[in-house]
Structure formats: structure tokens, C-alpha cells
């Protein structure tokens, strides 16, 4: 019943982006995010689209997978376009009827907004979720936030919690499925009835799921204790993150892309002043 949920949506492939150090990817992601927020000019946006396609090719991600990660947010984008078109008023009037007026400026800025949002989602997917396993990402965050240990922020513990949560998601999905089947055998019905009665119905799943999660947590803690887990101090790593010259080169090349975007934007906006 719950089998079609896919978490993280990692796309397995062997590409430049897949092999890039996850710390580099996390920083690149932030650079691109900032750059995209600054963009307004159509030329810069056009360049962004080109860069996104280049990233997609580097990550060896098929268009169908890209489409799947963009699909869920399309309704939101359409809603934003419609709202912008109806409310922003600048430049020549294209269309006017009753209280609705559509202007050239409104359409233009709505389209820019839409493309920007779409590219933001696609860039996030390409740089992070599609090419990086959740576990790699949590390791990258542990490393990047390591300086926070100075102020006693439990960086290692947070990363450990995240990776254990990821490890248990499939287990808990399986368990939910089993409990639902058992309750359905006893006459439970999760698909029909009012919202209130459906929510009430979910109690029959949630209570056993919570009880078993606590039991699992307890047993896991004992098992971790027995395997000498004693916090992050003095731990080694089977596959430590290693930054190679290649990683640095790719990182610099890709971050130039983000800087290029901002530069084009600036030049374009200065030019438009004259």
C-alpha cells in the first residue's frame, strides 16, 4: 500500500557530479541558490537555463527523471504565474475585461519568476538529491558543521541521528504496511468515510507503530552499546570523505558558472540604466 513512496529520489549513475565530494556539492548548491535569487534579467535567466542543461548532462540524468522531479511543483508554479499576471501592473495593457487587466510587464515578470522557480528546483535536484545519497549528504553536513563543536553543538550526534533515521525509513514503511493489512483484516477501512472517521482510523496504525518504534529504539540502543558505540570521539571511518585535486577543479569550474550568472545580471542591469 505504501510501496510507491520513494525517499531521497537518488538516481544511480556514474557521473562527474555523482563522484564529486558531497561537501563541494553542498557549497555549490548554496552558491547557485543565492545566484538564482539575484537574477532578474532575461539574458541571465537564459544563461541559467543553459547552465542547468549542462549540469544535467554532467550528472547523466535522463530528461524523464528531471521531469519527474519537476512535476510535483508545477501546480504551484502555475498558481504563482496566474497570481502575478493578475496583480502586477506595469507597461502596456494587453488585455482588459471587466475588472481583469493584463499588462505586458506583468506577463514578463510572471514568466521570469516561473522559470527561476523551475530552475531552482531542477538545480537542487541535480546537484543534491538526484546525485547524492542521503547518507553522503549527512556525512558532508557533519564535516561542514564541525566548527560548531566549539560551541558544544552536537554535530556528530545530529549526523548519527539522521543516518539512523534514513536506515529505518524502509523498515518502518514495511511495518506500517503490515499493521494496515492486519487491521484491514479486522474490518478497518482507510479509504472511505468522512475525514474525521478516517483520521480516527489511523489511530489503529499509529499507536502500534509508535509502540514498536520505542521498542526498536530501545533494542537498537542496546545493540549500539554492545558494539562499543561511545559518541563521535575517537571514531574512524570506513570511507572517509577525501577531497582530491579533481574535486577542487570541478568545484571551481562549476562555481564559476554561478559567478558568471551574477556578473551577467549586473552588466545587464547597469546597461539597462542607459
Amino acid at each position: 500500500m505504501l510501496k510507491d513512496i520513494s525517499i531521497g529520489r537518488y538516481y544511480r549513475a556514474n557521473s562527474v557530479l555523482h563522484n564529486l565530494d558531497p561537501r563541494c556539492k553542498a557549497i555549490l548548491f548554496i552558491l547557485y541558490l543565492v545566484a538564482i535569487f539575484l537574477l532578474k534579467s532575461p539574458i541571465a535567466i537564459g544563461l541559467l537555463v543553459v547552465l542547468t542543461v549542462i549540469l544535467q548532462i554532467l550528472g547523466k540524468i535522463p530528461p524523464k527523471v528531471m521531469w519527474n522531479s519537476a512535476k510535483p511543483i508545477l501546480p504551484i508554479i502555475i498558481l504563482i504565474v496566474v497570481l502575478n499576471v493578475l496583480t502586477l501592473k506595469s507597461g502596456d495593457v494587453i488585455f482588459s475585461w471587466w475588472k481583469i487587466t493584463i499588462t505586458e510587464g506583468g506577463v514578463k515578470s510572471a514568466l521570469i519568476m516561473a522559470v527561476r522557480l523551475l530552475m531552482m528546483i531542477l538545480v537542487t535536484s541535480i546537484i543534491l538529491t538526484l546525485t547524492t545519497t542521503p547518507l553522503k549528504l549527512s556525512e558532508a553536513l557533519e564535516k561542514l558543521f564541525a566548527p560548531l563543536k566549539v560551541i558544544k553543538f552536537p554535530v556528530h550526534e545530529m549526523a548519527m541521528m539522521m543516518s539512523i533515521a534514513l536506515r529505518f525509513i524502509p523498515t518502518l514503511i514495511d511495518e506500517t504496511d503490515k499493521i494496515m493489512k492486519a487491521q484491514v483484516s479486522r474490518g478497518a477501512d482507510y479509504d472511505t468515510g468522512t475525514i474525521v472517521s478516517r483520521l480516527k482510523g489511523y489511530v489503529t496504525v499509529l499507536v502500534p507503530l509508535f509502540v514498536s518504534s520505542f521498542r526498536r529504539a530501545d533494542e537498537l540502543a542496546t545493540a549500539m552499546d554492545a558494539r562499543c558505540y561511545n559518541g563521535g570521539e575517537g571514531r574512524t571511518k570506513l570511507h572517509p570523505l577525501k577531497l582530491t585535486g579533481k574535486d577542487v577543479a570541478i568545484f571551481i569550474a562549476l562555481s564559476l558558472g554561478a559567478f558568471l550568472l551574477v556578473a551577467v545580471e549586473k552588466i545587464d542591469s547597469i546597461r539597462s540604466l542607459f
Partner: protein, 581 residues
């Protein structure tokens, strides 16, 4: 021989109450020794394992492991570092998302640097045979593979002492044998000392020494053949004995023929004893078993695949379930048993041509028709594996009431159904007002069973109803099932164990790779040796033992045939003793 671990007069309580989980227990495990600790559920044996790995501290008494006192705060890490634990539930001891990460977890914790770390991981995975799966997601492994992974995780720490806390309880017999072979290889080749906590008598009989624990105390200890064959003592402790000693004991109960412990020690001594008393015995035919002819559920040409590309979980299944019978479904994990029974009340609906029909008088209900599913669910009660994990209500009474209420039962009828169901599974009235979560695991299972029985189903489908229970729990569960059957409920029993199926079933249906290999009367099923070999089915222990007895006693063909019709040890004892049931 030096001792690996020694506990002396240990007492331990989880709370401040006077109730001690371990109450004055002493035991020693020698270097390189393979020791079993047996006991019923709640006897304190798991607590003992935790005490030995310094996961808990004793209130009284001393424990030393590798000569180090567990109370020594500076050195207890040395104990944990050199002691590996494998626990019962495979899912709740895996930390890593991938196989190799999980194996690395322990050595990472004790700071083993690379490249030694990756060498250790590689060697451990090769030892248990999971090396080719090192990048697999741990959640996608089978139960048996998960337990092997747990062993690999322990091996990567190069331990000197291995603690197995019911590590095989959730495995099917084939995975269990593989796991035990692995453990025995460790004892033999790596000279690791092992303490295994188990309910399984076969496992215990393969060790060097056994301890029996009852209510926190060690009540018996010694070589396995001396301890395990002491039938009355073992029953008293909620355990079981090997088939040969049980047979002598049952003969004594039936005829008064006395035997000594020496006679019951090995198969050979038991055969000698039987030979002395029953050679050339004339064995009467056992009373005829009832026949069941009326079809209640018919499964027709059923195939099923969980996804379009994957392999089929069921392939062209045709099966009739007769009214009033007990049909056993036997096969390895993953053979399609659970998928098949989930079809029986329409939780999974047939794909394509397949049909599952329920014959009720002249009407035929089909799970292919959405409207009829609710009716079918009332008539076919399904109890999944470990049903205690589905309890959710505040009280046992309310939890049992959930199903019948959904089916539309009310007031007095509902109250009566709940109380009758509770009585049938052996729950006292006072338990009904308790929270299900304060009961023991065995009692929780009975509550879950009562929740389905209260719906008054015509057919009860039970998926491994005795899994994880101790011997006493198993006996009681099967007593309940026989009573339900006597009251006219048709039963479909899913089990890994041929012996269990052989003893209780009217017909056995064996499955493999999504197909039915054969459906037959248990006695007939094991007569054709060639067919068995083809189906890769091993005859039950009881049957193989009876065949040996028949040869040893030199029985005439008729007597031999009659003896082989015994489906339980007790029945065999009655036949040998010439006593009518």
C-alpha cells in the same frame, strides 16, 4: 582450561522492587567452550547475557569476563571490545544503511584505522558469505542474511567471546541451520567461546554444556544429553526434550513401563531399550481419521506479481480448502505462503484470470467482487505473524471488540463474543480490563488471536502462530488451535516446520518458488520417497525416527505401516504400548 566468563550468585532487578530478573544464578563458560542457556520466556536468560556484556550491572554477586571484574570502571571497555552480541530481532541491531557500513560500525567505534578497517570488513563479509552484497541496502536483506550480517559485524571486532541472545528465533529452519553452522565453524576454527540463549532443543543438543534457567535461577546444568533428556524436569521448566527421550516418557505414561535416565540418553540407548521390550510387537491400526469433503474456499488459477517487472510471487495456484479441516501450508521464507493467504480474505485481490471463492451454502462469494469483500472478511479471519504488534486499544476488552464492532455486532452479542473469544484463547476475565501493553509477549499474542476469533470466522488463517514462543507457549497455542478446530472452525496453518504440520494437519500443502509442489494427507505424503526427493522435502523427525524403530524392532509389514501412521510422539507411544487412545 581457563574461564572466559564466570558469574557467581548474581542477582539483578530492573526496578527497585523485590522482583529479581536474575535471582542468585551462577555459571561458567570455559575458553573455547560452546554453552547453551535455556529457559522459558521471562526466565531471566536475556538479562544474564546483558550482565555478561556489562550492559547492566548486577545488584549482588560477581561477574568476571576474561578475568576482569565487570564492576571495574576502567577496564569494562576491554570486556565489551572482546565480546560480540547477536540479538533476536535482525532489524533492531543494524545501524548501517549499507552492508559494509554496518560491518564497519563496531571497528569504527573502537578507532581501527584504515587500511586495517577495510581489511577487517572484507574478511568478515567473506567469512559469512555476504561479500558480494557489500553495497546492498541493509533493509533489503532477508531475515537470515540480516543475522549473518550481525555476525559479520561482530567478527570485524575480532571477539574472543560471542553471546547469542535467541539469535535464531526469527529464522526459518534452513536459515537457522546455516547460521548454526557458521557459529560452530567459529567455535572450531577461531576458538571463540560461545554462550547461546535459545528455545531450540536441536541447537542446544549440539553444544558442550547446557544450563537451564527458571525464574532467575539455574536449576539444571550439565552435558546436553544428561540435561535435555530429563523429560519431566524439562517440561517443568517450560522446555522440550529430544524426540527419543520423549517417546520413552510417553510410553511410561501410557503403560507404566519404567526406564532409567541412562536409557533415554541417546538415540542408540533408546533404541536398545525399545528393542528389549517391543521386538516383534504386533501393532494395531490407529483409529481412522475423519474425512473432509465439502469445499469451503477454492483458489483457482491464481498468479500474482508485486510489480510488473519483478518475478511472480504466485504461479497458477489451484487449491481447495475443505470445511472443518486443518490444512498446513509449508515452505521456506519467500516461497509465497504469505502472499497466498493474504488473497484469502481479499486484502490482495486476484490479478488476471485468478479467482478466490468462498462457498457459503448455495451462495458463492468472490474476492474479485468489491461488494462481497466485507462479507468474506468476516468469514475468513486472518492472523498475521507476530500479531501482537497490531494491538492499539487502551484495554484488552476494547481491542478484542474492534473487529466484531466493525462487523456490526452490538451490546450483549458483542460482549458475549468478546468473553467467549478470551476464554477460548485462555485469557482470564481480569486481564480484559488491563492495558494490552502491560502484558507479556505470549499473552499479547493471545489477545490478538482473540480479536480475530471474536469475529466468529468460519475459517481461521494463521501465519506462524507459534513463532518466537517458548516450548510451553507453543504447546498452549496448538492446544487452542485444536479446540477451535473441534468447535468446527476450518484452519489454515502456515508454518516453516514440517514436524508441526505433520502432527496437526489433516492435509499438508507444500510450496516452493510461488508454486504448489503437492497437497496430500501427511501419511501418504511421505510414503513416496522419490517424489519427496524431487520436491526437496525432508520427512519430519518423528517419521524418520519411527522408520528406524520399525527396522530395529523387526516389525512385520502391517505393523510397520500401522506404526508409521502415528502423527505425534504420544500416538506412537500408544501404538507401541498397545493402548487404545
Amino acid at each position: 582450561m581457563e574461564n572466559t566468563a564466570r558469574a557467581k550468585d548474581v542477582r539483578f532487578s530492573y526496578s527497585d522492587s523485590d522482583k529479581y530478573a536474575v535471582d542468585g544464578a551462577s555459571l561458567t563458560i570455559g575458553e573455547g567452550e560452546y554453552v547453551a542457556l535455556l529457559g522459558a520466556n521471562g526466565s531471566g536468560k536475556s538479562t544474564m547475557a546483558k550482565l555478561l556484556d556489562v550492559l547492566e550491572m548486577p545488584n549482588e554477586g560477581d561477574i568476571t569476563v576474561f578475568g576482569i571484574d565487570t564492576k571495574d570502571d576502567d577496564k569494562f571497555w576491554d570486556i565489551r571490545r572482546n565480546t560480540g552480541c547477536v540479538f533476536q530481532n535482525p532489524d533492531n541491531q543494524i545501524v548501517g544503511t549499507t552492508v559494509e557500513e554496518d560491518v564497519a560500525f563496531g571497528p569504527e567505534n573502537i578507532g581501527i584505522p584504515n587500511p586495517e578497517l577495510s581489511e577487517r570488513v572484507e574478511n568478515a563479509l567473506k567469512y559469512v558469505g555476504l561479500f558480494d552484497k557489500k553495497e546492498r541496502q541493509t533493509a533489503k536483506l532477508s531475515g537470515g542474511q540480516k543475522q549473518k550480517l550481525a555476525i559479520a559485524g561482530v567478527l570485524a571486532m575480532s571477539p574472543k567471546f560471542l553471546l547469542l541472545d535467541e539469535a535464531t528465533a526469527m529464522l526459518d529452519p534452513v536459515s537457522r541451520d546455516e547460521f548454526l553452522a557458521l557459529v560452530e565453524k567459529l567455535v572450531r576454527e577461531n576458538k571463540i567461546s560461545v554462550l547461546t540463549i535459545t528455545h531450540d532443543m536441536t541447537e542446544a543438543s549440539r553444544t558442550d554444556k547446557v544450563y537451564i534457567m527458571e525464574k532467575g535461577k539455574i536449576t539444571l546444568e550439565g552435558a546436553p544429553q544428561d540435561v535435555l533428556n530429563n523429560v519431566p524436569e524439562m517440561l517443568e521448566a517450560g522446555l522440550d526434550s529430544p524426540i527419543y527421550s520423549k517417546l520413552l516418557w510417553e510410553i511410561k505414561n501410557a503403560t507404566g513401563l519404567n526406564y532409567s535416565l541412562e536409557d533415554a540418553k541417546t538415540i542408540r540407548s533408546a533404541l536398545r531399550f525399545l528393542g528389549a521390550h517391543f521386538t516383534d510387537a504386533k501393532i494395531k491400526a490407529p483409529s481412522a481419521k475423519p474425512k473432509y469433503d465439502e469445499t469451503l474456499i477454492s483458489v483457482k488459477n491464481l498468479s500474482y506479481a508485486y510489480d510488473d517487472k519483478g518475478p511472480k510471487a504466485l504461479k497458477n495456484i489451484d487449491l481447495d480448502i475443505k470445511k472443518g479441516e486443518l490444512l498446513a501450508l509449508v515452505g521456506r521464507s519467500g516461497c509465497g505462503k504469505t502472499t497466498l493467504i493474504t488473497h484469502m480474505n481479499g486484502i490482495i485481490r486476484p490479478q488476471g484470470e485468478g479467482k478466490v471463492e468462498f462457498h457459503y451454502g448455495d451462495t458463492v462469494l468472490s474476492t474479485s467482487k468489491k461488494k462481497e469483500i466485507k462479507q468474506i472478511r468476516q468469514k475468513v479471519g486472518l492472523v498475521f505473524q507476530y500479531p501482537e504488534y497490531q494491538l492499539f486499544e487502551e484495554t484488552v476488552y476494547k481491542d478484542i471488540a474492534y473487529g466484531p464492532k466493525k462487523m456490526g455486532m452490538k451490546d450483549d452479542e458483542l460482549d458475549k463474543a468478546i468473553r467467549d473469544a478470551a476464554k477460548q484463547v485462555g485469557l482470564d476475565d481480569e486481564v480484559l480490563e488491563k492495558s494490552p501493553f502491560e502484558l507479556s509477549g505470549g499473552q499479547q499474542r493471545r489477545v490478538a488471536l482473540a480479536g480475530v476469533i471474536a469475529m466468529k470466522p468460519e475459517v481461521l488463517v494463521l501465519d506462524e502462530p507459534a513463532a518466537g514462543l517458548d516450548s510451553r507457549g507453543r504447546r498452549e497455542m496448538f492446544k487452542t488451535i485444536s479446540e477451535l478446530k473441534k468447535n468446527g472452525t476450518t484452519i489454515v496453518l502456515v508454518t516453516h516446520y514440517m514436524d508441526e504440520a505433520y502432527e496437526h494437519a489433516d492435509r499438508i500443502c507444500t510450496m516452493k518458488d510461488g508454486m504448489i509442489m503437492g497437497v496430500s494427507d501427511p501419511i501418504k505424503m511421505f510414503e513416496d520417497k522419490d517424489a519427496l526427493r524431487e520436491m526437496e522435502i525432508r520427512a519430519p523427525y518423528l517419521r524418520r525416527f519411527l522408520e528406524i524403530i520399525a527396522v530395529r524392532l523387526g516389525l512385520d509389514p502391517v505393523s510397520k505401516k500401522n506404526l508409521l501412521r502415528a502423527q505425534s510422539v504420544k500416538e506412537a507411544a500408544l501404538l507401541l504400548g498397545g493402548v487404545d487412545a
